[in-house]
């Protein structure tokens, strides 16, 4: 395929196909580095903290949290939405960028999808643990029972159950279908018998047949086509959790698209945070180049700006509506007792990403890393602001309260972060972090020393 000469190459260094295989499989081979051990130890400790908090919650009850009669959701749901949001980048990169034919996705989609799956697992933990009666949580499934009672299909939480589980399932098969050929590569490069046997099992007997490839591409494409609206639907439905209500600050029609762009925004930030470290640690700088980082930064500006416009729209509409409850809710956000959270959100989400308009900053790894962390923090606070500031002062001032989290809630959050990194560190040891076959397929057109000859 013809590629205009002015485009930046996506893969650096003199590479041939064999070299690509070798480079990408390198992190899986040999003994892990001491940094890997250090990382997984720290992550494991954090996860154990979470396990303790989980025990406290289940045994003693939600009372171990800081919630009260007015603020029924706090950090738990904040974390849920935050993780789900992060879990949007992977599928967005794989599906929507595939549909838009953005080639730069090939180097990052695998790890982003893995991150997605882990993030959804972390997200899914929160709706479960925040239930007052977790052991009866199965009531939420519409299964036939002697009381002939089903579930409430009006409830956004029920939609969440369907959305999150569908999203997880479809993301999983999307990811795995993409992995199959690469697992074939791992299998064929395996040195030990056990390893060969395992990867042979996992690779589903992949041979690389042209017929398989052709159908495999079709499957990937259709899955991408399905996943694209699915991504939109998931955060849309998460936004419905809030927007269907009558609570000022929750009930606003802009939530669905605004949540989706916020999710992509935070997802990309997390991908950047991870990849900036990973490309260095795993020696993949030639595959995940500054061009990739820059492209992702552009998505960050785009989605960050959409989010910013949404914030301002919401604020303006609250005033414009003439509804006193709406007006109060937003004034309270910006100038009430939780104003600090609001301004952290505004700074991190609206101001800092705008720095990416400068090419210098956009292409600086250090700056990108710092801003990506800012965005992660800002997006967490966005959810905190939405959940808590809307609830703590709603219609009747007699019920107004304040909310602050307990150690158990902090533990649950830290615990999922620990779980996230534990699983991610395991992932980079077990699966190829970059889609080998996909990179190979764009190597010629987008490699450093492009072969200008094109077929057809």
């Amino acid at each position: 395929m013809y590629v205009s000469p002015i485009r930046e190459p996506l893969i650096r260094g003199e590479k041939n196909y064999g070299q690509v295989t070798k480079d990408i499989l390198a992190p899986m081979a040999g003994k892990p580095s001491k940094y890997w051990y250090l990382g997984i130890t720290l992550a494991g400790i954090a996860a154990l903290f979470g396990a303790w908090a989980t025990y406290q919650t289940i045994y003693y009850g939600i009372g171990t949290w800081g919630l009260n009669k007015t603020v029924g959701w706090g950090w738990g749901i904040t974390n849920f939405v935050w993780w789900v949001g992060i879990g949007h980048a992977g599928t967005f990169i794989s599906a929507i960028l595939l549909l838009f034919r953005q080639k730069w996705r090939t180097s990052i989609n695998r790890s982003a999808e893995a991150m997605t799956l882990i993030a959804i697992a972390c997200a899914g933990f929160f709706p479960l643990i925040h239930m007052g009666r977790l052991l009866l949580g199965f009531f939420i499934f519409p299964y036939p029972n002697t009381r002939a009672l089903w579930v409430n299909f009006n409830s956004p939480l029920l939609w969440d159950v369907f959305a999150i589980s569908t999203y997880f399932a479809v993301s999983l098969i999307f990811w795995y279908v993409g992995l199959i050929p690469d697992l074939g590569t791992v299998r064929d490069k395996a040195k030990t018998k056990i390893r060969k046997a395992i990867y042979s099992f996992l690779s589903f007997g992949w041979t690389g047949s042209a017929r398989h490839w052709s159908r495999h591409e079709t499957v990937s494409l259709i899955l991408a086509g399905l996943a694209a609206p699915l991504v939109l639907s998931v955060h849309t439905i998460v936004s419905f959790d809030f927007a269907t209500s009558v609570i000022p600050g929750w009930h606003t029609t802009i939530f669905p698209p605004y949540f989706v762009s916020g999710a992509v925004f935070s997802g990309f930030a997390m991908v950047l945070t991870l990849l900036i470290v990973a490309r260095k640690a795993l020696n993949l700088e030639e595959y995940i180049t500054v061009t990739h980082i820059e492209s992702m930064n552009k998505v960050i500006i785009l989605t960050g700006s959409i989010v910013g416009i949404a914030y301002i729209t919401e604020f303006f509409m609250a005033w414009y509506s003439g509804v006193e409850y709406e007006q109060y809710a937003f004034m309270n956000r910006a100038f009430g007792p939780y104003a600090w959270a609001y301004w952290i959100m505004m700074t991190c989400n609206v101001v800092t990403p705008q720095l990416f308009w400068f090419k210098k900053i956009r292409t600086s790894l250090v700056a990108t890393f710092i801003i990506s962390i800012f965005v992660n923090i800002g997006m967490w606070f966005e959810r905190f602001v939405i959940v808590v500031t809307s609830l703590h002062r709603d219609f009747l001032p007699s019920s107004w309260t304040m909310y602050s989290p307990s150690l158990v809630e902090v533990g649950l959050y830290v615990g999922t972060i620990g779980l996230f990194f534990t699983l991610f560190l395991l992932f980079i040891r077990v699966f190829p972090v970059i889609a080998i076959a996909e990179v190979k397929s764009v190597l010629k057109s987008s490699g450093d020393h492009k072969k200008t000859a094109h077929h057809e």
Partner: protein, 170 residues
């Protein structure tokens, strides 16, 4: 593939494409082409028809949507109608999310399973690995031997296209 065949590989997809075209012109039977990544244009050269997996996905999705919608509608109007906050029993907007999710779920899974089952791929599937570097950097063709003696001719043709590692399966 309980047939006699000859395998040979190339080191570049453009070479492979050219070769396959030439072999086809010679009327040789190309049983399979194995590549490390999808080579564009190869399906056309091999004369593959368009995939029917899209239809599987469509009908899977249609079934999913129908199941989702009608189940919800049944529960709310016939199975156990309950008054939730004064909402109508037949609450179409409320049914949309689940309907949509089930449509996507059914479409995705029906298609992926159709793909795996059709090609007999799956956990622990037994397939022939012709060359361990197929998944790395080699582009392999498998040419079927139709009749005795044809072997030489094939090998010759392969050599002409610059193939390496010509092997007979037997």
């Amino acid at each position: 593939m309980n047939k006699d065949y000859i395998t040979a590989y190339y080191n570049d997809e453009d070479e492979l494409l050219k070769a396959v075209r030439q072999l086809k012109e010679k009327g040789l039977e190309i049983l399979d082409v194995l590549t490390p990544f999808p080579v564009h244009g190869l399906d056309k050269v091999l004369g593959m028809r368009r995939s029917r997996l899209t239809r599987v996905a469509f009908w899977g999705g249609a079934v999913g949507a129908a199941v989702g919608f009608f189940f919800q509608a049944w529960v709310f109007t016939e199975g156990y109608p309950l008054n939730f906050g004064g909402k109508p029993f037949f609450a179409v907007p409320s049914f949309m999310p689940v309907t949509f999710e089930l449509a996507v779920l059914f479409a995705a899974f029906s298609m992926v399973f159709a793909f795996l089952i059709y090609f007999k791929l799956g956990p622990g599937a037994k397939t022939v690995i012709h060359d361990e570097r197929i998944t790395d950097d080699r582009f392999l063709v498998v040419v079927g031997i139709r009749k005795e003696g044809n072997q030489q001719e094939i090998e010759q043709a392969l050599k002409e296209t610059g193939a390496e590692g010509i092997k007979h399966n037997a």
